[in-house]
């Protein structure tokens, strides 16, 4: 058996081993218990100060989710919002958590295939939201907060807050057994 043949067969053997390993790993992953998948989802969610989020959100919207038009609305300035949200790191966390919230909504499709269509639309919308939040982040120059920051950040944070409420309401509707843990997390 020539050297070239040995090399060729070795490469094919490695290819087949890798292919089988990848297939096995991801097949097992897609079949892991829903409990462990849920735990992973919760673990991806980064803790944020809910009171601060709520304070910024209610500066922009009322309890029903409508934009406030009263005189006291939008009283927080850029510096205060920047401080409450935790600066650039806080925006990073919101961007990541936004994706987790959508994944939580999509998680339902495992039991309810009917939810798949809506879940996929949500996923696509979330990608675009992340892109916009990314633009907002890149527009912020550290140490120099323009007044526009508050105008951009306020509705984005209010949207995030409302998304957490909607996801919670969705899981309440599903009588999800881990609901209390979810309420504590988001």
């Amino acid at each position: 058996m020539g050297l070239h043949l040995i090399v060729f067969l070795s490469v094919i053997a490695v290819f087949l081993f890798a292919l089988t390993a990848v297939a096995g790993f991801y097949w097992k992953k897609s079949r892991t218990t829903s409990k462990s998948q849920w735990e992973q989802l919760i673990a991806r969610y980064t803790f944020v100060d809910r009171d601060s989020i709520q304070q910024i959100a209610f500066d922009h919207i009322d309890g029903s989710g409508w934009v406030r038009n009263d005189e006291a609305a939008r009283s927080l300035n850029s510096s205060e919002i920047w401080k409450l949200i935790g600066g650039m790191q806080g925006l990073d966390v919101l961007e990541k958590n936004c994706a987790v919230l959508i994944d939580m909504a999509c998680y339902l499709q495992r039991w309810y295939p009917e939810a798949m269509t809506t879940a996929d639309q949500l996923r696509k919308s979330a990608e675009e939201i992340q892109w916009h939040v990314g633009r907002l982040k890149s527009a912020v120059v550290p140490g120099k907060l323009e007044s526009e920051f508050a105008d951009y950040a306020r509705p984005a944070i209010a949207s995030y807050y409302l998304m957490t409420r909607r996801v919670l309401a969705l899981y309440e509707g599903a009588n999800f057994p881990e609901l209390i843990k979810l309420q504590r997390t988001i």
């Binding site: 309810y112 269509t117 809506t118 996929d120 916009h132 949207s159 909607r166 969705l170």
Partner: protein
């Protein structure tokens, strides 16, 4: 060239399997759901019949060109079936998600590159250039298709998109056959097609046996109905719709501000 009893038996089994699968697709009304897969099976029936007739009554030259033509058509249709399965899994609402599209594009490039490298690395044990080219093309085809289907499993697990029952069964069959095909084509590369004809014949027979097993798997699983999907209750449906409209509203607001 002549057929022995085993060749005839395997040819008959594969043809019967194809026809039975086509009947299942028609009776269980799966043709509309999987038109490309149905067409792929129909072309397989045509391929085995035409090649069988040319093998018995035609010239070697006619057989060779027909075989090569069907080889290219077969790969094209396998890729089309892969695309059909991908659209069922990754594009449930008619549009590709950006993340999924990116993952699939990377997968397609990686699969094509690796298949090209492996087929070029092969040095088939034959002096006939055309036969060497066929072995290389077969290996390329098997590596490409096996990588694509295994990649689909990986992408779906990463994005959390579930496989519907029949899509999963068709894909599993094609993936298993493609992986066996990689082994068989590698063996053909080592032992060639002209010097050890018996070994070539055994490899061809093993390939048809594996394919018949896949056909049987498809016949059984496509005959069975997929489990009935659980339906959302009205409250959950409302909540999900409300979340979606909220996200859409936020998105519209962000789009406006970004202008």
């Amino acid at each position: 060239m002549h057929f022995n009893h085993i060749d005839l038996l395997l040819w008959a089994a594969a043809s019967a399997g194809h026809l039975a699968l086509l009947a299942v697709m028609a009776i269980r009304r799966r043709v509309k759901t999987f038109p490309v897969f149905t067409f792929f099976i129909a072309v397989s029936v045509l391929k085995s019949s035409v090649l069988f007739l040319i093998y018995l009554h035609g010239s070697r030259r006619a057989y060779f060109y027909t075989y090569v033509g069907f080889l290219i058509l077969d790969l094209t249709l396998q890729l089309a079936v892969a695309f059909e399965m991908a659209t069922r899994v990754f594009r449930p609402v008619g549009a590709w998600s950006r993340e999924v599209a990116r993952n699939l594009a990377s997968l397609a490039i990686a699969s094509f590159s690796l298949a090209t490298v492996l087929s070029l690395l092969a040095q088939p044990h034959t002096q006939v250039v055309a036969k060497a080219a066929i072995i290389r093309f077969d290996l390329f085809s098997a590596v490409l298709v096996s990588m694509l289907f295994v990649g689909f499993v990986a992408v779906s697990a990463r994005t959390g998109l579930p496989w519907r029952t029949h899509v999963a069964r068709i894909s599993q069959g094609l993936a298993v056959y493609a992986v066996f095909d990689v082994i068989i084509e590698s063996a053909r590369t080592c032992f060639g097609v002209s010097t050890t004809t018996d070994f070539y014949r055994v490899l061809s027979e093993v390939r048809i046996i594996v394919y018949c097993a896949c056909l049987t798997y498809w016949i059984i699983t496509l005959w069975q109905e997929a489990p009935a999907p659980r339906l959302l209750d009205s409250r959950m449906r409302w909540q999900l719709t409300a979340l979606q409209s909220r996200v859409e509203q936020d998105l519209a607001s962000l789009r406006q501000r970004s202008k």
